[in-house]
């Protein structure tokens, strides 16, 4: 797989109902995906504490991708509406903590969007791969 750099570690935090199913669908459809990311399945993006992403960086992740149901499609109606405010704050705070903004993103991928999942992870992994591994002293 040429679009993987192979030298970065990426954590993908995905919700059980949409993005995990979307990623699963991408696998079932044998869509080519980079292999540098590890998937962490959560019941809903509403459960995701921004600290999980920070912890991943602290533990040596080079990038963190969070993905859930599209706004309006949350399995629990409104989990992702609460979540996106937190994710946005995290997005704005990360550069302040010395982490390049390209290393974090949050997005929405539904269960039927296997092709979109493929595109999202490929883009993200490529961007993080270009930056290479992190040498963080603070986080």
């Amino acid at each position: 797989m040429t679009d993987s750099s192979g030298n970065v570690k990426i954590i993908a935090i995905v919700c059980n109902w949409c993005s995990y199913a979307g990623a699963d669908g991408a696998g079932t459809a044998r869509l080519k995906q980079p292999y540098d990311f590890r998937v962490m399945r959560v019941p809903c993006t509403g459960r995701v504490d921004p600290l999980l992403a920070l912890k991943a960086f602290e533990k040596g992740a080079d990038g963190v991708l969070i993905s859930g149901c599209h706004p309006g499609d949350c399995h629990y109606s409104e989990g992702n509406y609460y979540a996106r405010r937190k994710f946005e704050l995290l997005k704005r705070m990360l550069p302040h903590l010395g982490i390049e903004p390209e290393r974090y993103t949050y997005t929405w991928v539904s269960a039927s969007e296997a092709a979109r999942w493929q595109q999202v992870v490929t883009n993200f992994v490529t961007k993080v791969g270009e930056l290479g591994p992190r040498q963080g002293g603070a986080l």
Binding site: D49, P50, L51, L54, K55, E58, P71, G72, E78, Y81, Y82, R84, R85, K86, F87, E88, L89, L90, K91, R92, M93, P95, H96, L97, G98, I99, E100, T105, Y106, T107, W108, V120, G136, G137, A138, L139
Partner: protein, 325 residues
């Protein structure tokens, strides 16, 4: 001390006396003189004849609402009187928004505030021990043990956040000690960030690594914070989940502080109590002030302004236009 300051102090004493005499409160929380002249400490006044120890001057930096955050006051049904400055009142409002304190059992004395002196900066300006601090109008007269007496301008000694204060008046109070001050115009200000913000990612990483290497995890920032109230349930104390490592090193220490910062997001008005309590002088304002700046730019949100408002992370707007991809 200016006439206005003395009038405020007199009024605080008068209101405390009145509240205790009428039985409106079981005790009254204010400020009193500390063990050294540069220090003012919190006071719990239970008797009417103790009211005269209550103080008001530009050294009263303690945010007294921190004593309300324990959901179990002593005794549990105690009625409490408390003094709040503008910034303190915002933390009180944040607690009230989440019904973490009982409005009915509180008697709040609002104190309009001209700004608090940076006690550490004042002490550092002298190589000798400071034995007396007197406030004379716009001047602060400091005497040291060696007999040196110096007049310093009050304006120049102010805490950075006080020099550009957006809320000199309390946002919530039952009675006011003194006249309301003019409300500053314009958008909120977040001083002291420009220099750090201009650094590259690598430089920021180095600055934070250096600053947080010295953290001793004493929990002072967390315990003094009026809006950080999980006590024994704090994830920073927990090994399960092991969100924060036991190792006391820069990474773990910054993670420890991020737990504090992210958990008070939406309640923290940057009162600066954490900065002032830090025994190793970690510039925590770099984190909480930045967080509030971003929250303001994101959603136009400022913590603790009105009791009826919903905290920003406990509500949402379907039309929030944020930066997801």
């Amino acid at each position: 001390m200016s006439g206005a300051e003395i009038a405020r102090q007199d009024r605080i004493r008068e209101l405390a006396r009145q509240a205790l005499t009428e039985g409106k409160v079981d005790y009254f929380i204010g400020w009193k003189a500390g063990h050294v002249p540069s220090e003012v400490i919190p006071a719990f006044v239970r008797n009417v004849d103790e009211c005269d120890m209550l103080l008001w001057n530009p050294l009263c930096h303690h945010n007294l609402t921190t004593f309300l955050k324990r959901k179990m006051p002593d005794p549990p049904d105690a009625r409490i009187g408390v003094c709040v400055k503008g910034c303190d009142s915002r933390t009180l409002v944040a607690l009230l928004q989440e019904t973490l304190v009982d409005k009915e059992r509180l008697y709040v004395v609002g104190v309009p505030c001209d700004g608090i002196i940076d006690r550490r900066r004042l002490e550092k300006a002298f190589s000798d021990e400071v034995i007396d601090i007197a406030f004379q109008g716009e001047q602060v007269v400091v005497t040291t043990r060696g007999g040196e007496t110096k007049e310093l301008a009050y304006e120049e000694l102010l805490l950075e956040q006080c020099a550009s204060c957006d809320f000199p008046n309390p946002r919530y109070y039952d009675d006011l000690a003194g006249e309301l001050l003019p409300q500053p115009e314009g958008p909120p200000r977040f001083p002291g960030l420009e220099e750090y913000e201009a650094l590259s990612a690598e430089e920021k990483d180095r600055v934070l690594a250096d600053a947080f290497a010295t953290c001793i995890r004493c929990f002072a920032c967390i315990h003094v914070c009026p809006v950080c109230y999980c006590w024994d349930q704090c994830v920073n104390r927990s090994r399960r989940p092991a969100l924060v490592g036991q190792k006391v090193a820069a990474k773990e220490n910054l993670m420890f502080q991020m737990v504090h910062m992210f958990h008070v997001a939406g309640r923290c008005p940057s009162c600066g109590a954490c900065d002032r309590s830090c025994p190793v002088e970690i510039p925590l304002y770099l984190l909480h002030r930045k967080m509030n700046k971003e929250l303001f730019e994101m959603l136009g949100f400022q913590a603790g302004l009105n009791v009826e408002d919903k905290p920003v992370f406990q509500t949402f707007n379907i039309d929030d236009a944020l930066g997801e991809q």
